[in-house]
């Protein structure tokens, strides 16, 4: 096992730079999740770590050793592809033992690790099958088995669960978490799925447009997003954004209510779960309920606030409301985020 260092890493295709100055240190045994919108460069970064894409600039190290010029086979990393990439003409057992086969380990020596991995993943009975005779979830397991058998310095995952249905995804997510707890292997994991990112990661790397926006633990990103992009990207449903006017009294909301805060603030962010739903008289913001989504455990109340626009409040349990009802909204003061005109985070008053 080993940590990784990414120093001023850049990637260009032709004249087009798609990754800019990526700086990241990954500790030994850490589980790092890369998230970001489609096309932001997550896969490209992962493939550079794997050695499948040449590194245009900067330096990449594993365990202190420079890797820029090292071919994938010598990096001692294992990768699970979104497509699984199982060898269709080989049985499950041969797929899993392939890395040892190619290193000319005798067949007798290969059986042990393959059997052990198969047991961990519940593939014992499928070892003689071919990939085309497996379900999506089983293929996924074989792909993971192939990685485990390697006992590598690091695991790389590129959206490994995105081809599975919801229930199976939850199951495999748990499996990956368990596996990491047991093996403690350094892992870099790319996903679109917020829940996967929040639940699996020691640290999350949020990327946008080939630039790292923020690196932090899941709760750091949730509580203190470094900018408007991260604030909107992390958390579901998405954070509400309110435009502010600044004057001598402090910050003024669209409906005239004032808040203390820096005079330069341009926008206020508040997560739906941090908007309190109160009676129309009590609220800081008067609004009208428009759509009410009852999820059982929670209720999403979409409201139209005068002078502000659409605001979403998320309430625990059920609420007795009907579309068209007048409601009041109150901002939890210690949960307010302020952003300047460029979207950077500003210190809040409390």
């Amino acid at each position: 096992m080993a940590g990784m260092e990414l120093r001023a890493l850049r990637k260009s295709y032709g004249g087009l730079e798609v990754l800019h100055d990526i700086e990241l240190s990954i500790a030994d045994g850490e589980f790092v999740v890369l998230v970001g919108p489609s096309g932001c460069g997550k896969s490209t970064l992962l493939r550079m770590i794997a050695g499948l894409e040449p590194i245009t600039g900067g330096e990449f190290r594993i365990g202190g050793r420079r890797m820029n010029e090292v071919p994938p086979r010598d990096r001692d990393i294992a990768m699970v592809f979104q497509s699984y990439a199982l060898y269709p003409h080989m049985s499950v057992a041969r797929n899993m033992g392939f890395s040892m086969e190619i290193r000319r380990r005798p067949a007798a020596e290969r059986e042990g690790p393959v059997a052990a991995a198969a047991r961990t993943l519940g593939l014992d009975r499928l070892l003689e099958r071919f990939p085309k005779a497996l379900s999506g979830g089983q293929r996924q397991r074989v792909a993971m088995g192939r990685a485990i058998v390697r006992d590598p310095q690091a695991f790389l995952f590129d959206e490994p669960l995105s081809n599975l249905d919801a229930a199976l995804r939850v199951e495999m997510r748990l499996e990956i978490a368990r596996l990491h707890q047991r093996l403690g292997t350094t892992t870099v994991y790319v996903t679109h799925d917020q829940v996967e990112a929040m639940t699996l990661a020691d640290r999350i790397v949020v990327m946008n447009g080939g630039v790292i926006q923020q690196v932090g633990t899941p709760l750091e990103l949730y509580d203190r997003p470094a900018n408007r992009f991260v604030a909107q990207f992390i958390g579901s449903p998405t954070m509400n954004l309110l435009d502010l006017a600044a004057d001598a009294a402090g910050l003024r909301l669209g409906n005239g209510a004032t808040l203390p805060g820096p005079g330069s603030a341009a926008q206020l962010g508040i997560r739906p779960e941090h908007l309190e739903l109160v009676s129309a008289e009590e609220g800081e913001i008067a609004a009208q309920a428009q759509v009410i989504e009852r999820l059982g455990s929670d209720t999403n109340v979409f409201t139209e606030a005068e002078g502000i626009g659409l605001l979403l409040a998320r309430v625990h349990g059920n609420v007795d409301l009907r579309p068209g009802d007048r409601v009041g909204l109150r901002l939890m003061r210690d949960r307010i985020h302020l952003f300047d005109a460029e979207g950077a985070r500003l210190p809040t008053a409390h």
């Binding site: 592809f81 990439a85 190619i102 071919f130 990939p131 192939r146």
Partner: protein, 280 residues
């Protein structure tokens, strides 16, 4: 649902009738070939267009095999066609892999150039080719045919092979390279076994093309020793008569290697070798 999907029997019958009609239409010339080959010489004209010969004989085959140069032509054709198929497929597979997997400078120009070579009618370049082959002293040799056929078949074969490589997910060889393979190992152990249908199809296509080529063979070969079978067929046409029975018998025999060849490669032509590799 099942009730909704069931096709009316009349439609099924109609479909099979249409297919049968088409097959009969397509195979009729072959039947005619066989029929005339089996008809005794004396009866060819009197039988005329009767669907079934009034008498059967193997004389034509006997004459062709034992009393003509046919076996020599046949051997020449086998040498030329096999060599062409092997050389072309080897080169086309390498080129197709490069086109499919690598980005390199001038790729578009090479592709454009290869397409360009396919645009000229062969008749236009037959004279320069003749001059070239004569200049290097390869007239009347099988080598000249192999070289020319290979050159002419490479562009199409390359595009064919490229499309087969394109059909194999890149992830597979990348997974293999991460698992410890060099690119060449990944190609050999993972990609090649999955390309067998493509190789089979290309081999078959080039073999058949070389097997039946007449124009260049006619131009570049004069001596009886180096004649391929399509040229040899013409020797059954003399100034005064056409020996139909023997010519047809030779034609039937010429079909044999093509059929054998396809029988041999057809198990590689089955689709679905890559199924299960990736979940799309």
């Amino acid at each position: 649902m099942a009730a909704l999907r069931r096709t009316p029997p009349a439609l099924v019958a109609g479909k099979y009738a249409a297919i049968a009609a088409y097959v009969a239409f397509a195979l009729f010339p072959l039947y005619w070939l066989l029929k005339i080959a089996l008809t005794p010489d004396a009866l060819i004209f009197s039988d005329g267009t009767a669907l079934w010969p009034s008498e059967l004989t193997l004389d034509n085959f006997r004459t062709v095999i034992f009393q003509s140069d046919f076996m020599a032509y046949f051997r020449n054709s086998v040498i030329v066609s096999l060599s062409t198929a092997a050389a072309t497929t080897l080169i086309a597979a390498a080129a197709g892999y490069a086109f499919s997997r690598f980005a390199f400078r001038g790729k578009r120009w090479v592709v454009a150039l290869m397409l360009l070579t396919q645009m000229f009618p062969l008749l236009m370049i037959i004279a320069p080719i003749y001059k070239l082959v004569a200049a290097i002293g390869l007239l009347n040799s099988l080598t000249s045919l192999i070289v020319v056929y290979t050159a002419f078949n490479i562009p199409f074969a390359t595009f064919l092979m490229q499309s087969f490589f394109d059909g194999i997910p890149r992830d597979l060889e990348e997974a293999a390279m991460i698992d410890g393979c060099t690119r060449l190992q990944a190609l050999r152990v993972v990609i090649l076994p999955l390309t067998l249908p493509g190789l089979g199809a290309t081999l078959g296509f080039v073999f058949t093309a070389a097997w039946s080529e007449l124009l260049f063979a006619l131009m570049l070969i004069n001596s009886n020793d180096a004649m391929t079978f399509p040229v040899g067929l013409l020797t059954f046409v003399s100034k005064f008569s056409v020996d139909w029975g023997q010519m047809m018998a030779a034609g039937v025999l010429a079909l044999v290697p093509s059929c054998l060849f396809f029988l041999f490669i057809q198990r590689y032509l089955v689709q679905g070798l890559t199924s299960g590799a990736v979940k799309g």
